[in-house]
Amino acid sequence: MKHIYLLLLGCGLGLNAFAQESLEALVEKETVKTHEPVIATYKSTRLIQGHSPETLKKRELDFRVAHHFGDLGGEFGGPKTFFGLDNSADVRIAFEYGVTDRIMVGIGRTKGSGSLTQLYEGLAKYKVLAQTTDDHMPVTVTLFGNAVVSGMTSSTTVSDASYFGKFSDRMSYTGQVIIARKFSRNVSLTLLPTLVHRNRVGYKDQNDIFALGGGGRVKFTKRLGLLLEYYYPFRSQESKDYFKSQGRELYNPLAVGVEWETGGHVFHLNFGNSTAILENQFIPETSSSWLQGQFRWGFNISRRFSL
């Protein structure tokens, strides 16, 4: 009989415990824990001039204008060109579109700054893996590829890089794996192993150039951040020496930028030594140097429409 009373008591206590289980606990139990993707590793699909791991969202159309001015200092800069603003080193106009939340495509026209000009570009970008807030997936991995064709008139000098014996000589490609991690709300870092292939190049140049890019963002306030981007192209010493002997020493592209988000728009103020805007050119063909004042102001205008 005592046991029975104990049992009853137990039941009573159990009931009390159940009754006291709060609505909060009940709702908490219902909440499904999901692996939430990290948002806004960067604010734009571009870090500075190269790509960021971000893609457009589904049915978003991005109208982009990128501009690189002339040398700020050095021989071609200074007050006579109003610190490069009189000159336009490279210009790109493009439409890019989000097919899904992870796949985007784009077409663009770039002036071109290098051995080839009048560049038409087709690009595709695919976010394969997205970093999650619970670190179930620690990094975001995005693939980027483009194909570029030059519309310029072929040179008549057969040894020139711009001499097109056949149509495919006009083509170049970039393939990139973009690996990024948002370490905190204020720090994002990115690695970009890149391969640039140009079907036709000049004497002692390389058709294939592998480069390792690195970059990141540090935010000072909720809306103001500093960006850095650097590419190291692995070009053979022989090729480097040849270019140097021709008075066209090659440099590694380095750019710094400030990004300011105003609530609806993002303003970028960038400075970099490369004249070209497309990877296909600024990775293998940058021949201007920070140390000689050959860096320039650049900007990206990006206007995103939700269709």
Binding site: I4, L7, L8, C11, G12, L15, F18, A19, S22, L23, E24, L26, V27, E28, E30, T31, E36, V38, I39, A40, K57, K58, E60, T133, R185, K222, R223, E261, T262, G263, G264, R304, S306
Partner: protein, 181 residues
């Protein structure tokens, strides 16, 4: 002994009886609306969870801030990143109680007053708002519309877009409850 068993059975029934006091809604609909002469902004989520205890009149609402969908994706990103800071403050939670709750076991339409605390963007604030509860076939459906002043929850609007975002946004909540098992 038989009486004991009956008593035990009674207790278990009491458990079951309790379950009918507590109702849940796993797809609580929430939306907010900001109206200015420049731009109307609205966002909705149907991923809120809420529970109500008909006996005590307690109510509880929870929604993950990042489940709100906007018409413009960029807006959604800014909403999460800079305005609501959903990485720091992932959920909006309302915990409250009906003021002098009517007998909600009976079918009917009841105008009630809810008193409680809304925890949004890391700031708790007390709200006392009107709500409507419709009970049909023993199942309650609750809806309410109330105003949230952004400044009350430390949500700052940058000066450049101050004309685009209202200082006070109208929040709408609707939950159709089923008995919690």
């Amino acid at each position: 002994m038989k009486q004991m068993i009956a008593l035990l059975a009674g207790l278990f029934l009491a458990h079951a009886g309790f379950a009918q006091d507590v109702f849940m809604c796993r797809n609580t609909g929430l939306s907010f609306f900001s109206a200015t002469p420049v731009e109307d902004i609205d966002a909705t989520s149907d991923k809120g969870t809420s529970a109500i205890n008909l006996k005590t009149g307690e109510v509880y609402f929870k929604v993950a801030v990042n489940t709100f969908k906007f018409k413009k994706q960029l807006m959604e990103e800014h909403f999460n990143e800079n305005y609501l800071e959903s990485d720091k403050y992932p959920n909006a939670i309302f915990k409250g109680k009906l003021v002098s709750p009517p007998d909600l076991h009976k079918d009917g339409t009841y105008e009630v007053t809810v008193d409680g605390t809304l925890s949004l963007h890391g700031v708790d604030k007390n709200y006392r708002e009107k709500a409507t509860i419709v009970v049909k076939d023993g199942k309650p459906t609750a809806s309410s519309k109330f105003n949230v002043k952004l400044a009350d929850h430390r949500i700052k609007i940058p000066t450049l877009v101050i004309k685009n975002i209202a200082e006070v946004v109208e929040v709408t909540v609707k939950a159709a409850y089923t008995a919690a098992s």
